[in-house]
């Protein structure tokens, strides 16, 4: 740091003019915040086009994820779609097959909803034990934004569903044309076709110009760059819901259609990438969410789960959206084992990893919502640890 810019001195920035208005037509973060970026784990996949980049949860607070930091999970890279050529096709068991332009989607009555999106593979690497030393990597495949779009049921009504229709296949315009089957009941419930996130048009890496929103369900179903909805009477069993996104149990059999995301939480600070900087009053800050509805409570433990205290949820609480929780305590510098557990409106309590392993084994890759333990050391460093 530079004492010349500290009291009693008049700092440089208080003496001379800064950039005028409009110099930054579309603003970017401060040059002092260069470290707040999405990061990848190169060894995780064969190629960046089919891979993941993680949201820096340890650098964020509140419940809204800035658009530029929403995690990426692509299968053939970003489809850079020209909105003038974008088309959405609805056909199959409908009275009248339709094609919509983006402008036509924007003519329908709109809805604004705040939802979390979590990839089912989030925390997948942690099944076998503490692997990655930072919540960006252990939990960074989750984000939460406000979507603006048209309810899927409105478009299905426009095409007219034939009796006997029971399933929808949604397909993306990327070079994997990624597709998933969605039960009609969910499609007619709260699914949206969103073209905005946090007010502006979707970002290319999040599905520009339109994506599916399937509140509370696996991120893989929220088809990006949505190009086609086919109505049918049986599931397609696409590669993404048979080879992938099926949960292999210890006995060699696999669960399929494990759509809903179980209640989950993570302490984002202190955490390995956000060490505790001083003793005394210390704020534990974290994020919680559930695919089954609202998070109603989050408990925090400082001793690896022997004793729990209820944390303070601060800010908005929405159905299938993230909530922010805090637990302030007076840290005297002793080593601690920090944990959080979310409880949702259905009464589901986030389990610890051993409870999950006893039922599912360690090969199911997906749906690891086990309690995360951070080992806070006297020097403030924090490490991802497994406890027994």
């Amino acid at each position: 740091d530079n004492p010349k810019n500290q009291p009693p001195n008049v700092p440089e920035w208080t003496r001379t003019l800064g950039d005028g208005v409009g110099v930054r037509a579309y603003g970017t973060p401060s040059k002092f915040e260069k470290q707040v970026i999405r990061r990848t784990v190169p060894w995780l996949t064969a190629t960046p086009e089919s891979s993941v980049s993680f949201t820096p949860l340890h650098e964020l607070d509140g419940i809204i994820t800035p658009n530029g930091l929403c995690f990426e999970r692509h299968h053939s890279g970003i489809a850079e779609i020209d909105p003038a050529d974008y088309r959405l096709m609805i056909h199959g068991m409908v009275d009248k097959p339709l094609i919509f332009t983006l402008d036509e989607l924007k003519r329908f009555p709109r809805a604004n909803r705040i939802y979390f999106l979590e990839c089912a593979a989030n925390s997948g690497m942690e099944w076998r034990g503490a692997q990655l030393n930072g919540c960006q990597y252990t939990h960074g495949m989750v984000h939460c934004v406000q979507y603006t779009g048209v309810p899927l049921k409105t478009l299905l009504n426009e095409a007219g569903l034939k009796s006997g229709a029971k399933w929808i296949m949604a397909e993306g315009g990327d070079a994997a044309a990624m597709n998933r089957s969605i039960p009609l009941a969910k499609a007619l419930d709260d699914c949206l076709i969103a073209y905005r996130m946090n007010g502006e048009m979707l970002r290319p890496e999040n599905g520009y110009p339109a994506r599916l929103v399937v509140p509370g369900w696996q991120g893989n179903m929220w088809i990006k760059w949505l190009r086609r909805l086919k109505v049918g009477d049986q599931p397609w069993f696409t590669r993404e819901e048979t080879s992938k996104y099926t949960d292999l149990m210890e006995n060699g059999k696999a669960r399929q259609f494990t759509w809903v995301m179980d209640a989950k939480s993570i302490i984002t600070s202190p955490s390995p990438q956000a060490p505790a900087k001083s003793k005394g009053l210390t704020v534990i800050s974290g994020l919680a969410w559930s695919g089954r509805g609202k998070v109603v409570r989050v408990d925090v433990a400082l001793d690896g789960g022997r004793n729990w205290r209820t944390a303070r949820i601060d800010g908005p609480v929405y159905d299938k959206a993230c909530v922010r929780f805090y637990y302030e305590f007076d840290w005297s510098g002793e080593a601690l084992l920090l944990q959080s557990r979310a409880i949702d409106e259905t009464g589901y309590v986030q389990p610890n990893k051993d409870d999950l392993r006893k039922i599912r084994g360690v090969n199911s890759i997906y749906h690891n919502n086990g309690i995360q333990t951070w080992h806070l050391k006297p020097d403030g460093e924090v490490e991802n640890v497994e406890v027994g």
Partner: protein, 197 residues
């Protein structure tokens, strides 16, 4: 039906438009295009367009996905999920290759090439013999080894215990010991972030 009023927005999709995009194939084969391809023809396509990544025998080259072998490993500590060991339906393979492979040159194969290369991948997994010709007609003959390997999500029964009205708050367990440390595994990318400075 008292469905809400239609708003009349959007254009009718023509049969030709639909045909250009309607590439999905479902388990019973509905949606599979006309055409056919033999294992032998498939081998040639596979060697030129797939083997570089998936390995000559589907055993994976480098870190690209493995397509064959792995039978009998699903209950092991190191399950290998391949077309032969894990996939339950022929349609999932055909539908996927048709839309996504070869990686980076999607939808470049014609229908006959698709049938052939899919036949070859099946053959690599000993699901069909060397003479097999895949088409809509022979679709039903293909029996996937792990056809009965899946069951619908049962968490609401098998994980009923997680709906716990009174989760423990005090003295919930004995002493806690650390049994594993991420730093020991040491696979976290060098964090150019704050903590690393």
């Amino acid at each position: 039906k008292n469905a809400p009023k239609k708003l009349g927005i959007g254009q009718m999709a023509t049969a030709e438009q639909i045909a250009g995009w309607d590439i999905d194939v479902r388990p019973d084969g509905q949606g599979a295009p006309p055409g056919k391809g033999s294992v032998k023809q498939g081998e040639e396509i596979y060697m030129t367009r797939c083997a570089a990544c998936h390995g000559e025998f589907g055993e994976s080259a480098g870190r690209w996905p493995q397509l064959a072998q792995g039978k009998g490993t699903l209950a092991s500590n190191d399950p290998v999920r391949t077309v032969g060991s894990y996939w339950a339906r022929l349609s999932s393979l055909f539908d996927y290759v048709r839309r996504a492979m070869p990686f980076g040159d999607a939808q470049a194969l014609n229908n006959d090439e698709l049938y052939a290369v899919v036949a070859y991948v099946l053959n690599l997994n000993d699901i069909v013999d060397d003479k097999f010709v895949l088409s809509k007609e022979t679709w039903e003959q293909v029996k996937m080894p792990n056809a009965n390997g899946f069951y619908d999500d049962d968490r609401e029964t098998t994980e009923k215990a997680f709906w716990n009205k009174r989760p423990c708050m005090d003295n919930c367990r004995g002493p806690v010991t650390i049994t594993g440390r991420a730093r020991a595994v040491d696979v976290t990318p060098e964090d150019k972030g704050a903590a690393a400075q």
